[in-house]
Structure formats: structure tokens, C-alpha cells
């Protein structure tokens, strides 16, 4: 049997296993209430919580987009290790404040925080809905990126036996089935297995690349010959992008709805704290590794197009498997690990999207089982829409991440600043969010991505925070 045929068999077995886990999770559910479906009844212990945080944070973007970006931009992509670590650092400003309040007041969605923090203030409902809309758009974008990644990797690895469109539609359908059946419990349990497979797969792929390339130094020297700019000290604009990416990703990623909901779903403070400690090392074990994989790909493929660069990982797997023997098995394992990581992020995003729509936008009661049903229906509609969009990908995976972050970062004042400054008022936060979003969206529409290397979303956030801060000071002065 050839590598593509092995991959198809492994894919089918993996999908059957997923449905089995989902059915097991369905039987383990305690009730039909939203807290059980969306938060696994707040019972995630250290092992599962860490692995679900890990698998959700490191997704199709990390496994396909980041090697692609390292291939395109060279060693400067080491910045990705910095910004993925920045997420776990910035969590210091959120988790210790949010977790105890979330436990005490039984939060389920991110909007529950807005409801608690701004309560009966004028403009608080508008703020909660605006935050929900931004998060929903960001999540839909995130889901789209995962679907594109699933299509690419499946078509590439199976040598076209499973075409791109079947990869997108078929896997989207499987995700829908197990997410609807098992909710957060199924998502977290599958994430745990997927996280281990992903780590193991990346480790052996890196080992193979280093062996075939003659070691890290030989690869670096060869890259310096093929593409000297890939190893040189980056220019001022690239360095500004580096700094801006740390700000953008560090701030925006901590308010990922799926990350916030895992803070709510932790079984205990010690499980959450232990997960954060372990997560500190994952950028080194994952992002640095995929960056080196992308760099090693420069030696193997000298010139790929912009969107094609997102396929360097599956292309490397094909070469690896071509050596025959145990390499076929190892490459198949990496393929399943990568696909698992992508699917685990997609299902987490879909679950958050469902809960946000029903809880924050429609304002449904979290004590009503019908809220769970509405959430599931919303998930189906969104998945169909995103799968249809994914059939003609027009952006690189990294550009999709940037677009999502530039919107999500506008929610920072409503969470991060609101947790640390009690004078912050909802109306100025709302208007700041509107203006910051308009700056980001208008710039994107007119094709203006950065100012001197800084993302427009970061510039929008500065204006946004200034409006929230000055407006709140004025309102506090008036009330005195």
C-alpha cells in the first residue's frame, strides 16, 4: 500500500474513534443544561484541562500556517514563539481575577463577565451585544481557517484520493456530529488524545528533518546560501511587526471565548494553575519546532507561492513517507496528529460560537435546556456557511489569524482594563470598541494592513482604550 492509501485508512479509523468518544461522552453527560454541554459541568481536571488548552491553542494555524510563514519569512518567524508565550504571560492579568468571580456567579459565556462587571449601567446591554458580535465574527473566521487547513492537509496527504472539498465538507460533518452529541466533554477528551499525538508527531518529524538535513547548523548554512535574507538580522519594519505581533496576539488571544470558557470549566484553581505552568513551555515544544520545520522546508522546496506555502508540512510528510518502512507509519501518525489538532480547534470554536450566540446575543437563560438546543442549531447553520466559504480559499492562514485578532483585540478594554480599573464605564467602552473596530475594518477594506509595521488593530486598540479611559474619567467626574 502507498502512503496516500495508508493515510485514507488511518483517517477512516480515526474518524470512527472520534464518533466512539463522542458517544461515550454523550452517555457521561449529567444533564441537558448549558453548563453540562458547554462547560462539561465544570469538571475538567489538570490532565484534560492542560491538553484541551494546548490542543485548542495550537491548531491548523500552528501546524500549517506557522511552518508556511517560517518558510515565507525565514528565521524572523521565531517571533511566533514569543507571541504564543505572551498569551500565557498576559493570562496573569485575567485568570486570577476572572476565575473566582466566574465560579461564584456560575459564568458560562464571556458575556456573563460583561453582565457582572457593568451590571445595570447605561449602555451595558449594547456593550455585551457588541462584544458578542465581534467575538462571533472572530470565531467564524477562526473556524474558516481550520476548515481550509483540514481541506489542504487531507487532499495533500491522501494524494488527492480525498479531494479538498471532500476534506472540508466531510470533516466538518464529523465535527458537527461529535460536537452535537458530546459537547465540551467530547471536545476535551478528544483534545487530550490529540494533544499527545500532536506533540509526539512533531517531535519525530523534527528529528527526521534534522537527520536528513545534516543537523541544524548545516540547514541554517544551506538556507543562508539559498535565501540570505532568511537568516539576516531583520529590518526595522520587520522588527516593528515582531513587537506588534506580540502585542496583538498576547492581548487578543487571552480573550478567545474558547480560552475564557476553559477558565470557567476548570475543576479547581490548582488544576487551572498547573495547566498554566505547563502551557508556559508549549511555545518552545510546539511553535519553535514548527518554525524550524518551516525553515528546513526552504532547503527542500526553493520557491512556493504564497498560499502554497501553507502546504509545506504535508509536502514534507510526503517526502518522508517516500523513504518507505517505518517512515510511512510515522508520517501517517504526524498526519493524524496534525488533523486532530485542527479538528480539535474547530470543534472548540464551534462550541464557543454556539454558546455565545444563544447566551450573549439572544440572551437565553443558562438554566434552560432549550438554550443548549438553540446553540446546537446555530452551530449547524454556521458550520454549513463556513464550509461553503472554505471551498474557495482566498487568504493565507496567517492573514486569517491577523484579521481575527484585529477585531478581537478591540474587546480588550471590556475585559482586561475592566478587571483592573473599577472606574471604567460601559458607555465609553462601547464607543471605544466601535471606533477601534471601524479603524480596523476600514483599513482592511482599503487594503491598509499596517502602519510602520504596526498592525492596524493595535492602533485601533490605542484609540479605543483612550476613548474608554477619557470617557470614563469624564463620567466619574460628573457623577461626583
Amino acid at each position: 500500500m502507498s502512503f496516500p492509501e495508508y493515510s485514507v485508512v488511518a483517517l477512516v479509523l480515526y474518524l470512527i474513534a472520534l464518533i466512539g468518544v463522542a458517544e461515550f461522552a454523550r452517555r457521561s453527560r449529567a444533564s441537558s443544561l448549558p453548563v453540562d454541554h458547554f462547560l462539561a459541568n465544570r469538571e475538567l481536571g489538570l490532565f484534560v484541562l492542560f491538553l484541551t488548552l494546548y490542543s485548542t491553542a495550537y491548531s491548523g494555524n500552528s501546524l500549517l500556517g506557522y511552518p508556511g510563514e517560517a518558510y515565507r519569512r525565514g528565521y524572523v518567524w521565531i517571533m511566533a514563539t514569543g507571541f504564543m508565550l505572551a498569551i500565557v504571560v498576559v493570562f496573569h492579568a485575567i485568570v486570577p481575577v476572572l476565575r473566582p468571580i466566574a465560579v461564584r456567579y456560575h459564568f458560562i459565556t464571556p458575556g456573563d463577565w460583561i453582565r457582572y462587571r457593568f451590571g445595570g449601567e447605561r449602555g451595558s446591554t449594547a456593550l455585551r451585544r457588541a462584544v458578542a458580535v465581534l467575538m462571533l465574527i472572530a470565531l467564524a473566521n477562526f473556524l474558516l481557517a481550520q476548515l481550509i487547513a483540514m481541506g489542504h492537509i487531507t487532499e495533500s496527504i491522501t494524494g488527492g484520493i480525498v479531494p479538498y472539498w471532500v476534506g472540508v465538507v466531510g470533516l466538518a460533518l464529523i465535527i458537527l456530529v461529535y460536537e452535537v452529541l458530546g459537547g465540551m466533554r467530547a471536545v476535551a477528551w478528544t483534545d487530550a488524545v490529540q494533544g499527545i499525538v500532536m506533540l509526539f508527531g512533531l517531535g519525530i518529524l523534527l528529528y527526521w528533518l534534522m537527520q536528513t538535513g545534516g543537523g541544524l547548523e548545516a540547514i541554517t548554512l544551506r538556507v543562508a546560501e539559498i535565501r540570505p535574507a532568511a537568516v539576516r538580522v531583520p529590518g526595522a519594519v520587520e522588527q516593528a511587526k515582531w513587537f506588534s505581533s506580540i502585542i496583538l496576539l498576547g492581548l487578543a488571544s487571552v480573550i478567545y471565548p474558547q480560552a475564557i470558557q476553559r477558565i470557567y470549566a476548570a475543576k479547581s484553581w490548582s488544576a487551572l494553575r498547573g495547566s498554566m505552568m505547563l502551557m508556559s513551555f508549549m511555545p518552545l515544544a510546539t511553535t519553535a519546532v514548527v518554525t524550524l520545520i518551516g525553515i528546513a522546508a526552504i532547503v527542500h522546496f526553493e520557491s512556493l507561492g504564497s498560499v502554497e506555502a501553507d502546504t509545506v508540512m504535508p509536502r514534507l510528510l510526503e517526502i518522508w513517507a517516500g523513504e518507505g518502512g517505518w517512515q510511512i507509519f510515522a508520517a501517517t501518525l504526524v498526519f493524524i496528529g496534525a488533523l486532530a489538532a485542527i479538528m480539535s480547534t474547530a470543534d472548540s470554536v464551534l462550541l464557543s460560537l454556539s454558546s455565545l450566540f444563544s447566551g450573549d446575543l439572544l440572551n437565553r437563560s443558562q438554566d434552560d435546556p432549550a438554550t443548549t438546543k438553540i446553540g446546537k442549531a446555530v452551530g449547524i447553520v454556521v458550520m454549513v456557511a463556513m464550509a461553503a466559504t472554505a471551498l474557495s480559499p482566498r487568504f493565507t492562514l496567517w492573514r486569517l489569524i491577523e484579521l481575527k485578532m484585529e477585531l478581537l483585540i478591540q474587546c480588550v478594554p471590556a475585559f482586561l482594563i475592566a478587571m483592573h480599573w473599577k472606574n471604567l464605564r460601559s458607555a465609553p467602552v462601547f464607543w471605544g470598541l466601535v471606533v477601534g473596530t471601524l479603524i480596523s475594518v476600514t483599513s482592511v477594506v482599503f487594503g491598509f494592513k499596517r502602519l510602520a509595521g504596526f498592525h492596524v488593530g493595535v492602533i485601533g486598540l490605542l484609540v479605543n482604550a483612550l476613548i474608554a479611559w477619557t470617557g470614563s474619567l469624564v463620567l466619574v467626574q460628573r457623577s461626583r
Binding site: 528565521y75 541554517t220 538580522v233 531583520p234 505547563l278 473599577k422
Partner: protein, 79 residues
């Protein structure tokens, strides 16, 4: 907050300050732009420095999380 908790909070704040410093050093703004690098540990020297900074920051961050007090049920919005 008792004195032990104060001490842990001060150490944690110090660690987070060090992490911020490591981030500043990780970006090669102090290097000659576009220069061909030397190779350290198989990597361009500025990449080895950045990776070293992130490895140190990861260790400090894990310690900072370890020092973060258990706070179930005690949370409140800051001043």
C-alpha cells in the same frame, strides 16, 4: 494579605518584570540591520538570543504561576 502572601506577590511581580525585560532583549533592535549573522548552536546568533530569552521567560512564567495564590471564591475587581 499576610506577610507570606505579600512576599509571594512581590516575587511574582518581579518575575513578570524580568519577563518583560527578556521580551525587550529578544527583538534584535540593538543589532546592525540586515547584517549576516554568526552561527550559535546551529542558529543565527540573533535567533539563538531570542530563543534563549523565550526559554528563560517560560521558566520564569511557570514559577510566577506557581506563586499565584489559590483564590477560588475570593475575587474582586481591582482599584
Amino acid at each position: 494579605m499576610n506577610s507570606n502572601q505579600h512576599r509571594r506577590a512581590r516575587i511574582r511581580a518581579g518575575l513578570l518584570g524580568l519577563i518583560a525585560l527578556l521580551y525587550v532583549v529578544s527583538i534584535p533592535w540593538y543589532r546592525e540591520l540586515g547584517k549576516d549573522p554568526e552561527i550559535w548552536l546551529g542558529l543565527p546568533d540573533w535567533v539563538a538570543v531570542a530563543l534563549g530569552c523565550y526559554a528563560a521567560a517560560a521558566v520564569l512564567n511557570a514559577i510566577a504561576w506557581f506563586l499565584t495564590e489559590e483564590s477560588d471564591g475570593e475575587g474582586q475587581v481591582g482599584e
